[in-house]
């Protein structure tokens, strides 16, 4: 190291610069952390305000259908609420009550009375006509179900791949293959998620001619693999070699000691990695836009377009209807809380391990 040749002018000046820069770092930290906390706080506050009693138990409700009509009649052709929502169409969801010939004119009033009693979210009948006045209605059950389905199937795809690749990296450390694999992991985790979405679109969505939950799961799995692999590798490396040698001394082959001694020892750390991968996957939006497309109805079918919380946020915040904006904020609330809880849980797990 070389020390600057020109000596600072005097002690007072040096002290001044030191104090100034130290203050600057504190100011920078405050300047960054406070607004970021305010963002999260605002999302929680605004989202919390739009939680209605039936928020977690009901699905999307178009602004025009504030009365809580349920389309149980299979003869009703494609209710408007189930068509893909188009934020540019000011008439989206308008006027199902008044459409002639759908058979709905007669069902509206009884349906309201019967379902309104059992469903508290549907109780307040909004003022006729003015759709821009209706606030929070409907719920995010379909989004939660969709996000969980797609993310959990993605985890099921990613865990075996990530775990075994991580075992390879940790147990057979120094060879050229391991170096290349590590680099590929870094490339995958650094690649923009939209590119993985493009790949899933070209490989799965385009040939099958339909958006599907499976395509979304595959895309998310590719994004999760590097996280799980690196977490597994790091955690297995922390297991002391004496543990492996102990198993070896008892006559266990490597594979046996890996699965019964080494992996269980590092299990908490690996679970942490999986949890972080889950949180990352649940928040991904861009690849889902190209693979599962989003939907307004509750669906468990992974072969068709399916709803997801991030997509709901993206679509409904641009909506002209306050009720749909409220839904976006509510979905953001659920997503933020989910991500925060999973991260804090992961943190708590590692802390207990290191103690």
């Amino acid at each position: 190291m070389s020390i600057r040749a020109s000596a600072p002018r005097n002690y007072a000046w040096r002290r001044f610069v030191g104090r100034l820069m130290q203050t600057l770092t504190i100011v920078a930290t405050t300047l960054a952390i406070v607004p970021l906390l305010l963002i999260i706080g605002y999302v929680l506050y605004r989202g919390g305000a739009s939680l209605t009693p039936g928020f977690f138990t009901t699905d999307y409700l178009p602004p025009a259908l504030g009365g809580g009509i349920e389309f149980t009649d299979p003869t009703v052709p494609a209710p408007i609420g189930e068509q893909p929502f188009n934020p540019d169409d000011p008439f989206a969801g308008v006027g199902i009550d008044s459409l002639p010939g759908t058979g709905l004119e007669n069902e509206t009033i009884p349906g309201t009375a019967a379902d309104g009693a059992s469903d508290p979210a549907a109780q307040p009948r909004p003022p006729e006509g003015d759709l821009t006045q209706i606030t929070a209605q409907g719920g995010v059950r379909h989004g939660i179900v969709g996000t969980l389905l797609v993310t959990i199937f993605a985890l099921l795809l990613a865990i075996p791949l990530g775990l075994l690749a991580g075992i390879f990296l940790a147990e057979y450390r120094d060879n050229s293959v391991a170096t290349v694999v590590r680099f590929c992991c870094d490339v995958l985790s650094g690649a923009p998620s939209i590119i993985v979405g493009v790949v899933a679109f070209v490989l799965i969505v385009a040939p099958t001619q339909t958006y599907s939950g499976w395509a979304g799961s595959v895309a998310l799995a590719v994004l999760m693999v590097p996280t799980i692999t690196r977490a597994t590798e790091e955690m297995l490396k922390l297991v002391p070699d004496s543990t492996r040698e102990g198993a070896m001394a008892l006559g266990a082959p490597t594979w046996w000691s890996t699965f019964t001694v080494v992996v269980p020892t590092a299990l908490v750390g690996i679970v942490t990695g999986v949890l972080l991968a889950f949180a990352r996957g649940a928040g991904e939006t861009a690849p889902l836009l190209l693979t599962i497309q989003g939907s307004n109805k509750l669906s468990f079918d992974m072969n068709e377009p399916i709803a997801a919380l991030p997509l709901m946020i993206y679509k409904y915040i641009e909506s002209p209807f306050p009720s749909e904006n409220d839904l976006a904020w509510g979905a953001a609330f659920v997503l933020t809380v989910l991500v925060l809880i999973v991260n804090i849980l992961a943190r708590a797990l590692t802390r207990r391990r290191t103690r």
Binding site: I3, V177, L203, P253, I313
Partner: protein, 334 residues
Amino acid sequence: MAQTPAVEPFSTRESWLGRLNRRTAHGDRPFWVLVLLFALAIIGLVGAVGLVVYVGSAEARGLYGLSFLTGTVWNPVATEVREASYGAWPAIRGTLLSSLIAVLLAGPLGILIGVFLSELCPLRLRTPLSFMVELLAAIPSVIYGLWGVAVFVPFFRDYIADPIANSLGTNLPWLAGPVATGRGLMAAGMVLALMILPTIAAISRDVLAVVPSSQREVLMALGANRWEVIWQSVLPYARAGIIGAVMLGLGRALGETMAATMLIGNSTRIEQSLFAPATTAASLIANQLPNANDALHESALVYVALVLFGITLLLNLIARLLVWQVSRGPIGRV
């Protein structure tokens, strides 16, 4: 205690199990092959991603070649007077400019935060603050986009963009109005800066934390104060890693889709003003690929993805090399 197994009577013939054990090294060789295959699958994944975007863009590559990168017109709608034509420059320009704004804002701030967390912060605050920064880095980008659309953009339009456009903007064309909705390069760049700030801060802190204490002690012994120790010893020692941290943040900004899509206004025209709507490579793909007009349109979008992949690949390579260098081979080893 387990019961002692009955001793097998001695036999010259090897049992099938013994033969299997001998040939497979007690199962270790199949195990090695298994985990090797899964590790190779990761290489395969990266190869598949590259291959798919390369093959998928064949049509556009054949038609435009490398002039695609500098083509300024992106017009997917064929009319009687204008044919559909595709050029990636509006997207590349928007991507680079918005990321540049983000890094210029978030880079210095993030490094200062890293310095505070690793050098100056009271020990009691260090863990909770570091945890908070990591937590903020984990918040999904769509949340930042949501906040940007609903809270930041109206504020930005009324109190930042409009006054600047009306005063400075009258002379400087790149700050000129009209500020229509407020969505544009500047708004997107600023929210991107907020998003990558935790990433840069967390990695700089990690890099600074591995600087050996001897580096600090030497300068302290020479009578330097705290800031001089940081400025003349700690930061130079970790400079490669810090540059790497900023580049990783840049990589995140380049590839970020949702916040950019929601805030940049999505216009493929090239306008001089930073307040005007623009587009990025990622947001162009997210907007147009789900409803591409024809095969050429789709192919051109995949070509944009190929370009974006190339840029981020290169950036990641350099950044990883720098971070790796600081963690393995220190500049001024004692």
